[in-house]
Protein backbone atom coordinates (compact mmCIF):
# COMPACT_ATOMS: atom_id res chain seq x y z
CA UNK A 1 0.00 0.00 0.00
CA UNK A 2 2.72 2.44 0.98
CA UNK A 3 4.55 2.01 -2.31
CA UNK A 4 1.35 2.48 -4.30
CA UNK A 5 0.56 5.71 -2.48
CA UNK A 6 4.11 6.98 -2.87
CA UNK A 7 3.96 6.19 -6.58
CA UNK A 8 0.77 8.21 -6.94
CA UNK A 9 2.17 11.10 -4.91
CA UNK A 10 5.39 11.06 -6.94
CA UNK A 11 3.37 11.42 -10.07
CA UNK A 12 1.51 14.35 -8.59
CA UNK A 13 4.71 15.95 -7.37
CA UNK A 14 6.16 15.70 -10.86
CA UNK A 15 3.35 17.95 -12.02
CA UNK A 16 4.07 20.29 -9.08
CA UNK A 17 7.73 20.48 -10.10
CA UNK A 18 6.82 21.06 -13.72
CA UNK A 19 4.62 23.99 -12.77
CA UNK A 20 7.34 25.32 -10.48
CA UNK A 21 10.08 25.27 -13.09
CA UNK A 22 7.90 26.53 -15.92
CA UNK A 23 6.82 29.43 -13.72
CA UNK A 24 10.40 30.30 -12.84
CA UNK A 25 11.51 30.03 -16.45
CA UNK A 26 8.74 32.37 -17.57
CA UNK A 27 8.52 34.76 -14.64
CA UNK A 28 12.23 35.49 -14.18
CA UNK A 29 12.64 37.12 -17.63
CA UNK A 30 9.08 38.51 -17.80
CA UNK A 31 9.67 40.15 -14.43
CA UNK A 32 12.70 41.92 -15.87
CA UNK A 33 10.63 43.22 -18.77
CA UNK A 34 7.93 44.50 -16.42
CA UNK A 35 10.65 46.00 -14.23
CA UNK A 36 12.07 47.95 -17.17
CA UNK A 37 8.57 48.98 -18.12
CA UNK A 38 7.84 50.30 -14.67
CA UNK A 39 11.04 52.37 -14.67
CA UNK A 40 10.90 53.73 -18.22
CA UNK A 41 10.59 57.44 -18.89
CA UNK A 42 7.89 56.67 -21.45
CA UNK A 43 5.12 57.35 -18.98
CA UNK A 44 2.13 55.58 -20.60
CA UNK A 45 4.08 52.32 -20.51
CA UNK A 46 5.28 53.02 -16.97
CA UNK A 47 1.74 53.61 -15.70
CA UNK A 48 0.45 50.55 -17.54
CA UNK A 49 3.12 48.35 -15.95
CA UNK A 50 2.56 49.78 -12.50
CA UNK A 51 -1.20 49.35 -12.93
CA UNK A 52 -0.82 45.69 -13.89
CA UNK A 53 1.52 45.10 -10.94
CA UNK A 54 -0.97 46.78 -8.64
CA UNK A 55 -3.87 44.63 -9.86
CA UNK A 56 -1.94 41.36 -9.83
CA UNK A 57 -0.38 41.91 -6.43
CA UNK A 58 -3.59 43.31 -5.05
CA UNK A 59 -5.80 40.32 -5.80
CA UNK A 60 -5.54 36.68 -4.68
CA UNK A 61 -3.70 34.28 -6.95
CA UNK A 62 -6.57 31.83 -6.45
CA UNK A 63 -8.99 34.31 -7.98
CA UNK A 64 -6.60 34.96 -10.87
CA UNK A 65 -6.46 31.23 -11.54
CA UNK A 66 -10.25 31.04 -11.74
CA UNK A 67 -10.43 34.10 -13.97
CA UNK A 68 -7.74 32.96 -16.38
CA UNK A 69 -9.18 29.47 -16.61
CA UNK A 70 -12.88 30.27 -16.89
CA UNK A 71 -13.40 33.81 -18.20
CA UNK A 72 -11.93 33.36 -21.71
CA UNK A 73 -14.29 30.43 -22.29
CA UNK A 74 -17.29 32.47 -21.13
CA UNK A 75 -16.40 35.47 -23.25
CA UNK A 76 -15.36 33.57 -26.36
CA UNK A 77 -18.07 30.89 -26.26
CA UNK A 78 -15.40 28.26 -26.38
CA UNK A 79 -12.51 27.86 -23.98
CA UNK A 80 -9.16 28.63 -25.59
CA UNK A 81 -7.50 26.14 -23.25
CA UNK A 82 -7.02 22.64 -24.65
CA UNK A 83 -9.21 20.04 -22.99
CA UNK A 84 -7.94 17.92 -20.12
CA UNK A 85 -4.85 18.07 -17.96
CA UNK A 86 -2.68 19.86 -20.55
CA UNK A 87 -5.18 22.71 -20.82
CA UNK A 88 -5.38 23.07 -17.05
CA UNK A 89 -1.61 23.09 -16.85
CA UNK A 90 -1.34 25.78 -19.50
CA UNK A 91 -3.87 28.00 -17.72
CA UNK A 92 -2.04 27.48 -14.44
CA UNK A 93 1.31 28.29 -16.02
CA UNK A 94 -0.04 31.54 -17.50
CA UNK A 95 -1.56 32.63 -14.18
CA UNK A 96 1.51 31.73 -12.16
CA UNK A 97 3.98 33.33 -14.58
CA UNK A 98 2.00 36.55 -14.69
CA UNK A 99 1.57 36.65 -10.92
CA UNK A 100 5.16 35.87 -10.06
CA UNK A 101 6.59 38.14 -12.77
CA UNK A 102 4.87 41.05 -11.03
CA UNK A 103 6.40 40.17 -7.67
CA UNK A 104 9.81 39.58 -9.25
CA UNK A 105 9.64 42.89 -11.11
CA UNK A 106 9.34 44.76 -7.83
CA UNK A 107 12.26 42.83 -6.35
CA UNK A 108 14.35 43.58 -9.45
CA UNK A 109 13.43 47.24 -9.23
CA UNK A 110 14.61 47.39 -5.65
CA UNK A 111 17.81 45.60 -6.65
CA UNK A 112 18.58 47.92 -9.55
CA UNK A 113 17.76 51.06 -7.60
CA UNK A 114 19.94 49.78 -4.76
CA UNK A 115 23.06 49.85 -6.95
CA UNK A 116 24.70 53.24 -6.31
CA UNK A 117 24.22 55.77 -9.09
CA UNK A 118 28.00 56.25 -9.23
CA UNK A 119 28.38 52.77 -10.72
CA UNK A 120 26.37 53.74 -13.78
CA UNK A 121 28.20 57.04 -14.05
CA UNK A 122 31.56 55.28 -13.90
CA UNK A 123 30.42 53.09 -16.79
CA UNK A 124 29.14 56.10 -18.72
CA UNK A 125 32.35 58.10 -18.49
CA UNK A 126 34.23 55.01 -19.66
CA UNK A 127 32.19 55.08 -22.85
CA UNK A 128 30.03 52.04 -22.19
CA UNK A 129 26.61 51.71 -23.81
CA UNK A 130 23.49 51.44 -21.66
CA UNK A 131 23.28 47.73 -22.37
CA UNK A 132 26.95 47.19 -21.51
CA UNK A 133 26.47 49.07 -18.26
CA UNK A 134 23.51 46.88 -17.36
CA UNK A 135 25.19 43.61 -18.30
CA UNK A 136 28.74 44.26 -17.10
CA UNK A 137 28.24 46.66 -14.19
CA UNK A 138 24.74 46.59 -12.71
CA UNK A 139 23.54 43.03 -13.25
CA UNK A 140 25.76 41.09 -10.86
CA UNK A 141 25.43 43.75 -8.16
CA UNK A 142 21.69 43.59 -8.60
CA UNK A 143 21.67 39.79 -8.39
CA UNK A 144 23.65 39.94 -5.16
CA UNK A 145 21.08 42.31 -3.69
CA UNK A 146 18.03 40.35 -4.76
CA UNK A 147 19.06 36.82 -3.73
CA UNK A 148 17.61 37.05 -0.18
CA UNK A 149 14.20 38.49 -1.18
CA UNK A 150 14.08 36.15 -4.19
CA UNK A 151 14.70 33.13 -1.95
CA UNK A 152 11.62 34.10 0.01
CA UNK A 153 9.53 34.44 -3.10
CA UNK A 154 10.76 31.20 -4.65
CA UNK A 155 10.00 29.24 -1.50
CA UNK A 156 6.52 30.72 -1.51
CA UNK A 157 6.16 29.68 -5.13
CA UNK A 158 6.93 26.04 -4.27
CA UNK A 159 3.98 26.05 -1.88
CA UNK A 160 1.70 28.24 -4.02
CA UNK A 161 1.72 25.63 -6.77
CA UNK A 162 -0.78 23.78 -4.57
CA UNK A 163 -3.36 26.45 -5.45
CA UNK A 164 -3.60 24.90 -8.90
CA UNK A 165 -5.59 22.18 -7.15
CA UNK A 166 -8.67 24.44 -7.39
CA UNK A 167 -8.89 23.97 -11.14
CA UNK A 168 -8.09 20.30 -10.65
CA UNK A 169 -4.53 20.26 -11.86
CA UNK A 170 -3.33 16.86 -10.78
CA UNK A 171 -0.45 17.96 -8.62
CA UNK A 172 0.66 16.42 -5.36
CA UNK A 173 -2.13 17.76 -3.12
CA UNK A 174 -4.70 16.54 -5.62
CA UNK A 175 -3.01 13.15 -5.67
CA UNK A 176 -3.01 12.95 -1.87
CA UNK A 177 -6.58 14.12 -1.55
CA UNK A 178 -7.73 11.49 -4.05
CA UNK A 179 -7.05 8.79 -1.45
CA UNK A 180 -9.74 10.30 0.81
CA UNK A 181 -12.24 8.91 -1.65
CA UNK A 182 -10.78 6.25 -3.88
CA UNK A 183 -7.51 6.10 -5.74
CA UNK A 184 -5.42 3.24 -7.02
CA UNK A 185 -7.79 0.78 -5.31
CA UNK A 186 -7.56 2.31 -1.84
CA UNK A 187 -10.37 4.21 -0.16
CA UNK A 188 -10.65 6.55 2.81
CA UNK A 189 -6.93 6.99 3.43
CA UNK A 190 -6.18 10.19 5.35
CA UNK A 191 -2.39 10.04 5.69
CA UNK A 192 -1.42 10.48 2.02
CA UNK A 193 -2.81 14.03 2.08
CA UNK A 194 -0.73 14.91 5.12
CA UNK A 195 2.26 13.11 3.74
CA UNK A 196 2.41 15.54 0.81
CA UNK A 197 3.86 18.03 3.30
CA UNK A 198 7.06 15.98 3.35
CA UNK A 199 7.50 16.60 -0.38
CA UNK A 200 7.24 20.37 0.01
CA UNK A 201 9.49 20.35 3.03
CA UNK A 202 12.27 18.33 1.39
CA UNK A 203 12.12 20.27 -1.85
CA UNK A 204 12.17 23.62 -0.08
CA UNK A 205 15.13 22.38 1.93
CA UNK A 206 16.97 21.80 -1.34
CA UNK A 207 15.96 25.19 -2.71
CA UNK A 208 17.13 26.93 0.47
CA UNK A 209 20.45 25.12 0.31
CA UNK A 210 20.99 26.04 -3.33
CA UNK A 211 20.14 29.70 -2.91
CA UNK A 212 22.24 29.87 0.24
CA UNK A 213 25.14 28.62 -1.82
CA UNK A 214 24.56 31.27 -4.46
CA UNK A 215 24.46 33.91 -1.74
CA UNK A 216 27.77 32.68 -0.41
CA UNK A 217 29.28 32.61 -3.85
CA UNK A 218 28.52 36.30 -4.28
CA UNK A 219 30.07 37.09 -0.90
CA UNK A 220 33.44 37.90 -2.46
CA UNK A 221 32.47 41.49 -3.19
CA UNK A 222 30.52 44.10 -1.32
Amino acid sequence: MFLTVIGALNEGFLQTLKLFFVTLLGALPLGLVICWGSMTRFYPLRWLCRFVVWVIRGTPLMLQLYIIFFIPGIVMDQSPWPAGESGRFLACAVAFILNYACYFSEIYRGGIQGVPRGQQEAGQVLGMTKVQIFVHVTLLQMIKRIVPPMSNEIITLVKDTSLSRIISLQEVIWAGQAFLKTSHGYSGLLWPLFFTGVYYLVFNGLVTLLLGRLEKKLDYFS
Partner: protein, 258 residues
Protein backbone atom coordinates in the same frame (compact mmCIF):
# COMPACT_ATOMS: atom_id res chain seq x y z
CA UNK B 1 46.94 76.19 -28.77
CA UNK B 2 44.40 75.42 -26.12
CA UNK B 3 43.32 71.79 -26.11
CA UNK B 4 40.14 72.62 -24.20
CA UNK B 5 37.89 75.60 -24.77
CA UNK B 6 34.73 76.14 -22.78
CA UNK B 7 32.45 78.96 -23.84
CA UNK B 8 29.50 80.50 -22.02
CA UNK B 9 28.50 77.31 -20.28
CA UNK B 10 25.32 77.58 -18.27
CA UNK B 11 23.44 75.03 -16.21
CA UNK B 12 20.22 75.20 -14.20
CA UNK B 13 18.70 72.69 -11.83
CA UNK B 14 15.08 73.73 -11.93
CA UNK B 15 15.04 77.39 -11.00
CA UNK B 16 18.50 77.31 -9.45
CA UNK B 17 21.31 78.52 -11.64
CA UNK B 18 24.35 76.36 -10.87
CA UNK B 19 26.70 77.54 -13.60
CA UNK B 20 26.63 80.97 -15.13
CA UNK B 21 28.54 82.05 -18.21
CA UNK B 22 31.52 79.78 -17.61
CA UNK B 23 34.31 80.38 -20.13
CA UNK B 24 37.89 79.21 -19.87
CA UNK B 25 40.51 77.34 -21.81
CA UNK B 26 43.30 74.98 -20.94
CA UNK B 27 46.64 74.42 -22.64
CA UNK B 28 47.86 70.96 -23.53
CA UNK B 29 49.96 69.47 -20.72
CA UNK B 30 48.77 71.90 -18.05
CA UNK B 31 47.08 71.13 -14.77
CA UNK B 32 44.21 73.37 -13.69
CA UNK B 33 42.97 73.26 -10.11
CA UNK B 34 39.44 74.44 -9.38
CA UNK B 35 38.81 75.60 -5.83
CA UNK B 36 35.77 77.03 -4.09
CA UNK B 37 33.31 76.22 -1.34
CA UNK B 38 30.69 73.48 -1.56
CA UNK B 39 27.86 74.38 -3.87
CA UNK B 40 29.98 76.76 -5.94
CA UNK B 41 29.46 74.65 -9.06
CA UNK B 42 32.90 73.04 -9.36
CA UNK B 43 31.64 69.49 -9.45
CA UNK B 44 28.77 70.37 -11.79
CA UNK B 45 31.29 71.89 -14.18
CA UNK B 46 33.32 68.67 -14.25
CA UNK B 47 30.14 66.66 -14.70
CA UNK B 48 29.18 68.85 -17.64
CA UNK B 49 32.55 68.26 -19.28
CA UNK B 50 32.00 64.51 -18.91
CA UNK B 51 28.41 64.71 -20.18
CA UNK B 52 27.05 63.44 -16.88
CA UNK B 53 25.03 66.64 -16.88
CA UNK B 54 23.81 68.41 -19.98
CA UNK B 55 24.53 72.15 -19.97
CA UNK B 56 21.62 74.38 -20.94
CA UNK B 57 23.82 76.72 -22.93
CA UNK B 58 27.33 77.02 -24.23
CA UNK B 59 29.90 75.01 -26.13
CA UNK B 60 32.81 72.72 -25.28
CA UNK B 61 35.66 72.26 -27.77
CA UNK B 62 38.53 69.81 -27.60
CA UNK B 63 41.49 70.21 -29.93
CA UNK B 64 39.61 72.82 -31.94
CA UNK B 65 36.56 70.64 -32.58
CA UNK B 66 33.28 71.47 -30.94
CA UNK B 67 32.23 68.33 -29.07
CA UNK B 68 29.29 69.89 -27.30
CA UNK B 69 26.95 72.63 -28.41
CA UNK B 70 23.82 73.15 -26.34
CA UNK B 71 22.07 74.42 -29.47
CA UNK B 72 22.14 71.10 -31.31
CA UNK B 73 22.86 68.59 -28.55
CA UNK B 74 19.51 66.85 -28.81
CA UNK B 75 20.15 65.78 -32.38
CA UNK B 76 23.22 63.76 -31.33
CA UNK B 77 22.98 60.00 -31.27
CA UNK B 78 24.04 58.00 -28.22
CA UNK B 79 26.97 56.58 -30.18
CA UNK B 80 28.29 60.05 -31.06
CA UNK B 81 28.01 61.22 -27.47
CA UNK B 82 29.73 58.07 -26.28
CA UNK B 83 32.65 58.65 -28.60
CA UNK B 84 33.01 62.31 -27.71
CA UNK B 85 32.96 61.79 -23.97
CA UNK B 86 36.10 59.69 -24.29
CA UNK B 87 38.04 62.93 -24.73
CA UNK B 88 37.60 63.21 -20.97
CA UNK B 89 38.49 60.85 -18.16
CA UNK B 90 36.89 61.12 -14.76
CA UNK B 91 38.06 60.19 -11.28
CA UNK B 92 35.29 60.36 -8.72
CA UNK B 93 35.36 61.42 -5.10
CA UNK B 94 33.90 58.07 -4.04
CA UNK B 95 36.10 56.02 -6.46
CA UNK B 96 33.11 54.17 -7.95
CA UNK B 97 35.17 51.08 -8.69
CA UNK B 98 33.21 48.08 -9.89
CA UNK B 99 33.12 45.89 -6.74
CA UNK B 100 32.66 42.59 -8.56
CA UNK B 101 35.87 42.89 -10.57
CA UNK B 102 39.53 42.72 -9.62
CA UNK B 103 41.69 45.83 -9.75
CA UNK B 104 43.05 44.75 -13.13
CA UNK B 105 39.62 44.00 -14.58
CA UNK B 106 38.41 47.40 -13.39
CA UNK B 107 41.18 48.95 -15.45
CA UNK B 108 40.71 46.81 -18.56
CA UNK B 109 36.93 46.29 -18.76
CA UNK B 110 36.00 49.41 -20.72
CA UNK B 111 38.85 48.93 -23.13
CA UNK B 112 37.88 45.33 -23.76
CA UNK B 113 34.32 46.40 -24.50
CA UNK B 114 35.53 49.11 -26.87
CA UNK B 115 37.85 46.66 -28.60
CA UNK B 116 34.82 44.59 -29.60
CA UNK B 117 33.88 47.37 -31.99
CA UNK B 118 37.16 47.00 -33.86
CA UNK B 119 36.78 45.31 -37.25
CA UNK B 120 39.71 42.99 -36.59
CA UNK B 121 38.47 41.95 -33.13
CA UNK B 122 37.15 38.53 -34.12
CA UNK B 123 40.23 37.45 -36.02
CA UNK B 124 42.65 38.92 -33.52
CA UNK B 125 40.77 38.48 -30.28
CA UNK B 126 43.46 36.77 -28.27
CA UNK B 127 46.26 39.15 -29.14
CA UNK B 128 44.08 42.23 -28.59
CA UNK B 129 42.87 41.10 -25.17
CA UNK B 130 46.38 40.15 -24.16
CA UNK B 131 47.66 43.56 -25.13
CA UNK B 132 44.90 45.25 -23.11
CA UNK B 133 45.83 43.09 -20.11
CA UNK B 134 49.45 44.04 -20.48
CA UNK B 135 48.65 47.74 -20.67
CA UNK B 136 46.42 47.41 -17.63
CA UNK B 137 49.20 45.78 -15.65
CA UNK B 138 51.63 48.49 -16.70
CA UNK B 139 49.23 51.18 -15.52
CA UNK B 140 48.76 49.46 -12.18
CA UNK B 141 52.53 49.17 -11.85
CA UNK B 142 52.80 52.87 -12.54
CA UNK B 143 50.36 53.41 -9.67
CA UNK B 144 52.50 51.21 -7.43
CA UNK B 145 49.83 48.52 -7.37
CA UNK B 146 51.39 45.63 -9.30
CA UNK B 147 50.96 43.43 -6.21
CA UNK B 148 47.28 44.27 -5.99
CA UNK B 149 46.18 43.48 -9.56
CA UNK B 150 44.11 40.47 -8.56
CA UNK B 151 42.58 42.04 -5.44
CA UNK B 152 38.95 43.06 -5.28
CA UNK B 153 38.10 46.65 -4.31
CA UNK B 154 36.89 45.61 -0.84
CA UNK B 155 40.36 44.18 -0.18
CA UNK B 156 42.03 47.51 -0.92
CA UNK B 157 42.49 50.64 1.18
CA UNK B 158 40.78 53.84 0.08
CA UNK B 159 44.03 55.22 -1.28
CA UNK B 160 44.68 52.05 -3.27
CA UNK B 161 41.13 52.09 -4.60
CA UNK B 162 41.51 55.66 -5.78
CA UNK B 163 44.78 54.79 -7.50
CA UNK B 164 43.04 51.92 -9.30
CA UNK B 165 40.36 54.42 -10.34
CA UNK B 166 43.05 56.72 -11.74
CA UNK B 167 44.55 53.81 -13.69
CA UNK B 168 41.07 52.96 -14.97
CA UNK B 169 40.58 56.50 -16.25
CA UNK B 170 44.05 56.58 -17.82
CA UNK B 171 43.48 53.28 -19.62
CA UNK B 172 41.34 54.96 -22.26
CA UNK B 173 44.00 57.64 -22.85
CA UNK B 174 41.74 60.67 -22.42
CA UNK B 175 42.90 64.06 -23.68
CA UNK B 176 41.90 65.65 -20.40
CA UNK B 177 41.74 63.88 -17.07
CA UNK B 178 39.25 65.25 -14.54
CA UNK B 179 39.45 64.71 -10.79
CA UNK B 180 36.42 65.42 -8.62
CA UNK B 181 37.77 65.96 -5.10
CA UNK B 182 39.87 62.80 -5.40
CA UNK B 183 41.03 62.83 -1.77
CA UNK B 184 37.95 64.07 0.07
CA UNK B 185 36.92 60.54 1.06
CA UNK B 186 40.40 59.67 2.37
CA UNK B 187 42.18 60.19 5.67
CA UNK B 188 45.34 62.36 5.63
CA UNK B 189 47.74 59.45 5.36
CA UNK B 190 46.01 57.98 2.31
CA UNK B 191 45.54 61.45 0.82
CA UNK B 192 49.33 61.69 0.53
CA UNK B 193 49.70 58.58 -1.60
CA UNK B 194 46.99 59.70 -4.04
CA UNK B 195 48.41 63.22 -4.30
CA UNK B 196 51.84 61.75 -5.03
CA UNK B 197 50.36 59.86 -7.97
CA UNK B 198 48.66 62.99 -9.29
CA UNK B 199 51.90 64.91 -8.87
CA UNK B 200 53.60 62.27 -10.99
CA UNK B 201 50.99 62.75 -13.72
CA UNK B 202 51.61 66.49 -13.66
CA UNK B 203 55.32 65.88 -14.18
CA UNK B 204 54.47 63.75 -17.20
CA UNK B 205 52.50 66.65 -18.64
CA UNK B 206 49.08 65.04 -18.40
CA UNK B 207 46.38 67.61 -19.11
CA UNK B 208 44.24 67.71 -16.01
CA UNK B 209 41.44 69.52 -14.24
CA UNK B 210 41.43 68.91 -10.52
CA UNK B 211 38.61 69.98 -8.24
CA UNK B 212 40.19 70.02 -4.80
CA UNK B 213 40.09 71.34 -1.26
CA UNK B 214 43.83 70.77 -0.80
CA UNK B 215 45.09 74.34 -1.15
CA UNK B 216 48.75 73.56 -0.60
CA UNK B 217 48.55 70.86 -3.23
CA UNK B 218 46.82 73.18 -5.71
CA UNK B 219 49.48 75.81 -5.10
CA UNK B 220 52.47 73.48 -5.46
CA UNK B 221 51.32 71.12 -8.18
CA UNK B 222 48.83 72.86 -10.45
CA UNK B 223 49.91 75.28 -13.14
CA UNK B 224 46.82 77.39 -12.76
CA UNK B 225 44.08 77.85 -10.19
CA UNK B 226 40.51 78.88 -10.82
CA UNK B 227 38.32 80.03 -7.94
CA UNK B 228 34.57 79.56 -8.34
CA UNK B 229 31.77 80.99 -6.26
CA UNK B 230 27.99 80.75 -6.75
CA UNK B 231 28.36 79.29 -10.22
CA UNK B 232 30.74 81.87 -11.68
CA UNK B 233 34.50 82.00 -12.17
CA UNK B 234 35.67 84.71 -9.80
CA UNK B 235 39.39 84.58 -10.34
CA UNK B 236 41.86 82.66 -12.38
CA UNK B 237 45.62 82.79 -12.70
CA UNK B 238 48.96 81.13 -12.02
CA UNK B 239 48.53 78.77 -9.07
CA UNK B 240 50.94 80.38 -6.66
CA UNK B 241 49.77 83.92 -7.24
CA UNK B 242 46.05 83.12 -6.88
CA UNK B 243 46.54 81.16 -3.66
CA UNK B 244 49.12 83.41 -2.04
CA UNK B 245 48.07 86.74 -3.40
CA UNK B 246 44.39 86.64 -4.44
CA UNK B 247 43.09 89.82 -6.07
CA UNK B 248 39.35 89.41 -5.60
CA UNK B 249 37.71 89.96 -2.24
CA UNK B 250 35.68 86.77 -2.39
CA UNK B 251 38.80 84.71 -3.13
CA UNK B 252 40.55 86.34 -0.17
CA UNK B 253 37.62 85.51 2.11
CA UNK B 254 37.55 81.92 0.95
CA UNK B 255 41.30 81.39 1.28
CA UNK B 256 41.34 83.02 4.72
CA UNK B 257 39.53 79.91 5.95
CA UNK B 258 42.54 77.72 5.12
Amino acid sequence: MAILEVNNLEKHFGATRVLEDISFDLEQGKALAIIGSSGSGKTTLLRCLNFLETPDQGTISVGGNIIFDAANHRSQTDAEIRKKRLHFGMVFQSFNLFPQYTALKNVTLAKELLARERPDFKSNKKAILEEIQQEGLELLTKMGLEQRASHYPNQLSGGQQQRVAIARALALKPDILCFDEPTSALDPELTGEVLRVIRGLVEQKTTMIIVTHEMAFARDVADEVMFMDKGVIVERGPARSVIENPQEERTQQFLAGY
